[in-house]
């Protein structure tokens, strides 16, 4: 199929047949593709490996072979071609595309036909003209006179005898082969392409009353290469193939809210390639240009989940208005009670049912590549009804660089159920290590030297006041 289509494209583009001889138009969904048996392996960071096996009719000796319909976002330095009984002499990736300008520039020194139309009568006069130069305008030699094309503004059709062989309608890879024999054989073309990448998208339906989530995972791939990959075997690889120190166009996708709280140590029951998980699509698919395609890869029902509240206060911060605590959804990717799978990087969109049972969106968060067995906390937004007002009550200079700070945190809950708010006071230490909590109304934890954490329980429709006295430098 590839060879026939290629031949057709060559006929339409490169040969000089008259219009009557053009093959009858068959409006298909897209222009015929010259691709053969295509396999696409797509990585997360805007990178794809395309393998295209085309059946070629090759002669013997030095032959030039064109490969139209390669990705327009091809990285030409990564092209490899394997043809039985042939070796590559050279390969070129031609960007010199056919356009009115390139057509005229390539016609310098050639003879073209001018058709002048009399604007009053419509009468046509044909003349042959030689193109002398194309520098901002077109200078012609018409029967020994030199003139500029359309200098008088009157209609003139410039008709070229043929399209130069070097101009292509679409980006084309051309290869010169040293072939040892005649005949038809498969040629395996492989290259890397940009502008074809994928992420995961998760739909999490959270049932607060039951404390469960149903999670569907979708791989979302997006093709902006300018090329359609027809009927392709598709494999998605979760992982970053850019090694440390190598430029990675997107940098590390590290969301600020740190959704993974404890990295898992379980292995997912998926195919692995080294440290990467592989997600093959079950059937061949056509990845059209400018298309976003989604295929399901995960469907888990009834995993355990809880909601929680967190508030981080900066050092010496007084809020004149109470601020909403962050609303977080916590669950695990472990086999027992969790999602039971490794989660490729992407966006988790959380939904809850309203009073009428309709699913409503309640926020989203991004996760990095997350191993199975991890505990995950997604910050989906702010809690309307749970707020914290931190107040610096007193600052006492203790001499030297030491200060004592009295803090008060008023935690309010307008919900009809009791809640627990994790109040973090950050910025305690910086580089010093002699910060002390002198007094506190609730036992604290010290997850980090720089941060102290209180689990504050707040009754339904009530408030809890937490106080703490902290000795610090500065």
């Amino acid at each position: 199929m590839g060879a026939r289509h290629w031949g057709w494209a060559a006929l339409a583009i490169a040969s000089s047949v008259a219009a009557q001889d053009i093959a009858p138009s068959t409006p298909a969904t897209q222009a015929p593709s010259a691709q053969g048996d295509v396999s696409v392996t797509i990585y997360n960071n805007d990178l794809a490996l395309v393998q295209d096996v085309r059946q070629l009719e090759l002669g013997s000796g030095r032959v030039r072979q064109d490969f139209p319909d390669v990705s327009a976002a091809i990285r030409p330095e990564t092209v490899t071609l394997a043809v039985p009984g042939a070796t590559i002499v050279e390969q070129n990736f031609d960007y010199d595309l056919l356009s009115p300008t390139s057509l005229m520039e390539k016609a310098v020194g050639e003879t073209i036909t001018l058709v002048r139309t009399n604007p009053g009568t419509g009468a046509e006069v044909r003349e042959r003209a030689k193109v002398l130069a194309v520098n901002g305008g077109v200078v012609l030699d018409v029967g020994g006179h030199i003139e500029v094309l359309r200098d008088d503004g009157l209609p003139v059709r410039a008709i070229f005898d043929k399209v130069p062989d070097s101009l292509r309608a679409r980006p084309t890879l051309s290869v010169t082969l040293a072939s040892t024999r005649n005949g038809r054989r498969p040629a395996t073309l492989s290259y890397l392409s940009r502008q074809l990448g994928w992420v995961a998208d998760y739909v999490a339906l959270y049932d607060q009353a039951k404390g469960t989530i149903d999670v569907q995972g979708w791989v979302t791939l997006r093709n902006t290469t300018g090329t359609t990959f027809t009927n392709a075997r598709t494999l998605l690889v979760a992982g970053d193939v850019a090694s440390e120190g190598q430029p990675n166009r997107f940098g590390n996708l590290q969301p600020p809210s740190r959704p993974v709280r404890a990295a898992g140590t379980e292995s997912a029951s998926r195919e692995q390639l080294g440290d990467f998980y592989l997600y093959p699509l079950p059937v061949r698919t056509t990845i059209a240009d400018k298309q976003t395609k989604q295929v399901s890869f995960l469907d888990v029902k009834g995993a355990t989940a809880t909601s929680a509240y967190e508030y981080h206060n900066g050092w010496l911060a007084t809020r004149e208005q109470p601020a909403s605590a962050a609303s977080t959804l916590r669950f695990s990717s472990s086999r027992a009670g969790g999602l039971g799978d490794a989660l490729p990087a992407g966006t988790v969109r959380v939904y809850m049912r309203d009073a009428r049972g309709q699913a409503q969106f309640t926020g989203e968060a991004t996760i990095p590549h997350t191993p199975q067995g991890s505990s995950i906390a997604l910050t989906t937004g702010d809690a309307f009804d749970v707020k914290v007002q931190p107040i610096v009550v007193k600052r006492t200079a203790l001499g030297g660089s030491r200060f004592r700070t009295d803090m008060r945190y008023v935690v309010t809950n307008a919900r009809g159920v009791p809640v627990t708010v994790d109040v973090y006071q950050d910025g305690l230490d910086y580089s010093f290590t002699d910060t002390r909590i002198v007094a506190e109304s609730l036992r604290s934890e010290r997850p980090e030297s720089n941060t102290v954490l209180w689990h504050v329980q707040v009754p339904a429709n009530g408030s809890t006041t937490l106080t703490a006295t902290i000795d610090t430098r500065y």
Binding site: A9, A12, S16, A19, Q20, I22, P24, T26, P27, T29, A31, P32, S99, P100, T101, L103, M104, E105, V115, V134, N135, G136, V138, V148, D151, G153, L154, A158, D161, V163, L167, V203, N231, T285, A288, Q291, T292, K293, Q294, V295, S296, E320, S324, R349, D354, A355, Q358, Q360, F361, T362, G363, T379, T380, G381, V386, V393, K394, A397, T412, N461
Partner: protein
């Protein structure tokens, strides 16, 4: 200039022929033109205060659209095309439930029908080229094949040879026999499924779309007695998409939620017919009347009628008659406000419905000022606020979403605007303050008679006593004052009643 005479060419489209299916499309196509029923839940922008007017050209919120659609599915594999989805759809957010055969894959194509897309779709195929004689109007057609384009210009092959389209100065345009099957008028979501039997099903399609936003606009009207006010709020929602949602069940969600703005709005690029260089003998001269004369062909005259605008008096915001809308329900940690009746959300339109209404809410009128400790402050106006307790026993007790406030006072039978301001999200139990303007009658000043001693003076030129709240931006326990201070909003605050045409003074020191 000259080269651009035909740079933009509106291509006539021949749409009569039905779109034809590709031979390799195995699965039959099921089209779903429009939903039977639609629900729209509007979320506000995650950024900004939520107050102020919506910019209809740049809406930063989003919406969840939930549609019920009836489909007639054939047995076996089929591709379902959901047409009429919002242009701002986030394709990755689409959820389809109710398909008996499940969803094999979801596709969102962004190839919209346009002049450029037609030229691209007919690359290498035959079209009809029509040239019209400008003098006689006579048309001549010619078979042609598009051999390159549309980026950088279109090159066609005719029986005469190879030509660039739109460069000759003749009136010429290609005509196409039909629309390629993969081009659509609007955004389309396509889903492939495999049903075990032919049947009619109702599916639910939901997706997020950008180009929506909403805001709350509070209108408070003070009663003549100066003790209570009637509080009313408009829910203003705007849709920047080109699609309408008729008879929709509309909800609005309050509270800040995380959402990354992903605008997938599709721009169908116009066909740009670039030509080969068409500089002439005179085109590089700086001043050419001849060219100007010719250039006038290009000039598009946008006429504008000067309208006689009789300035109507700005409409007074009357207390509107609709029934008080239901109190919001909790949706996780958010608040969901329902519009009680089905309404139509128009394309590129803004709509206002009642959000909440409460009458005779008692308030306290305060004159507020916040001072930096020990700073010299000359006589400065104080801010008048009406303090409301958001509690049921104080006449309110309803979650108040962030928005702008407008305060009116009654003067006889007229209303007067007395203050405009903002309100942040206020949960039940919190205190809300409605701005009522600045007072040049109640002035606050601060001086430092000694290095670490501050002196605050508040004067009242009104013939009535006022209640003032003057806060010092310092830790409450570090301030020792001549009167006892209370902590309001985390700041040590002097609350004082200032007699009619009188003044009050406070001195304080700072200690560490």
């Amino acid at each position: 200039m000259r080269g651009r005479f035909a740079a933009l060419l509106g291509l006539p489209l021949v749409l009569g022929a039905a779109p034809q299916e590709s031979a390799d499309t195995v699965a039959p196509l099921v089209k779903s033109a429009a939903p039977d029923e639609v629900a729209v839940t509007v979320y506000r922008s995650p950024y900004g205060s939520g107050a102020g007017a919506l910019n209809l050209q740049w809406l930063n919120g989003f919406a969840l659209i939930t549609e019920m659609r009836t489909l007639h599915l054939p047995a076996g594999p089929a591709t379902i095309r959901f047409e009429g989805v919002a242009g701002g759809i986030v394709p990755a957010s689409a959820i389809i439930s109710g398909l008996p055969g499940g969803v094999i894959e979801k596709n969102r194509d962004e190839r919209l029908l346009s002049g450029a897309a037609l030229a691209s779709g007919y690359l290498g195929r035959r079209v009809t080229l029509t040239r019209t004689d400008r003098a006689s109007g006579r048309r001549r057609t010619q078979d042609a094949a598009i051999v390159a384009g549309p980026a950088g210009g279109v090159v066609v092959r005719t029986p005469d040879g190879v030509e660039a389209l739109g460069c000759s100065g003749l009136a010429e345009a290609p005509r196409y026999p039909s629309v390629p099957a993969d081009l659509t008028a609007g955004p389309v979501l396509a889903v492939s499924t495999n049903s075990s039997a032919a049947r009619t099903v109702t599916v639910t399609l939901s997706y997020l779309t950008s180009e929506f936003d909403w805001s709350a606009s509070y209108v408070a009207t003070m009663a003549a007695n100066g003790r209570t006010l009637d509080l009313f709020a408009w829910l203003t929602l705007a849709n920047g998409n080109a699609e309408s949602f008729p008879a929709a069940q509309v909800q609005a969600v309050a509270g800040r939620i995380n959402h990354r703005d992903e605008r997938f709005r599709v721009f169908a690029r116009p066909l740009q017919l670039s030509c080969f260089p068409l500089g002439t003998t005179t085109s590089d001269l700086p001043d050419r009347t001849a060219e100007q004369a010719e250039a006038s062909e290009d000039i598009v005259v946008t006429g504008m009628r000067i309208m006689e605008v009789s300035m109507p008096a700005p409409p007074l915001v009357e207390a509107p008659p609709p029934p008080p809308p239901p109190a919001p329900e909790s949706l996780g940690d958010l608040k969901l406000y329902r519009v009680p009746e089905r309404v139509t959300v128009n394309a590129r339109g803004q709509k206002q419905v009642a959000l909440l209404a409460r009458s005779r809410v008692p308030f306290q009128r305060l004159y507020r000022s916040t001072l930096s400790p020990l700073a010299i402050v000359p006589m400065s106006p104080s801010s008048i606020v009406l303090r409301l307790d958001n509690r049921a026993d104080a006449g309110l007790g309803i979650p108040l979403p962030a928005g702008s406030t407008t305060l009116y006072a009654q003067r006889g039978r007229e209303k007067l605007l007395v203050g405009t301001g903002d309100l942040s999200d206020k949960a039940v139990g919190e205190t809300a303050r409605i701005a009522a303007g600045q007072s040049a009658q109640v002035l606050v000043s601060q001086s430092t008679p000694e290095r670490d001693r501050g002196k605050v003076t508040v004067t009242n030129a009104n013939p009535f006593a006022v209640f003032a709240e003057i806060a010092v931006r310092a830790p409450p326990a570090n301030v020792r004052a001549s009167a006892s201070l209370v902590t309001v909003d985390g700041l040590p605050t002097w609350t004082v009643s200032v007699p009619a045409n009188g003044s009050r003074t406070l001195t304080y020191t700072m200690r560490n």
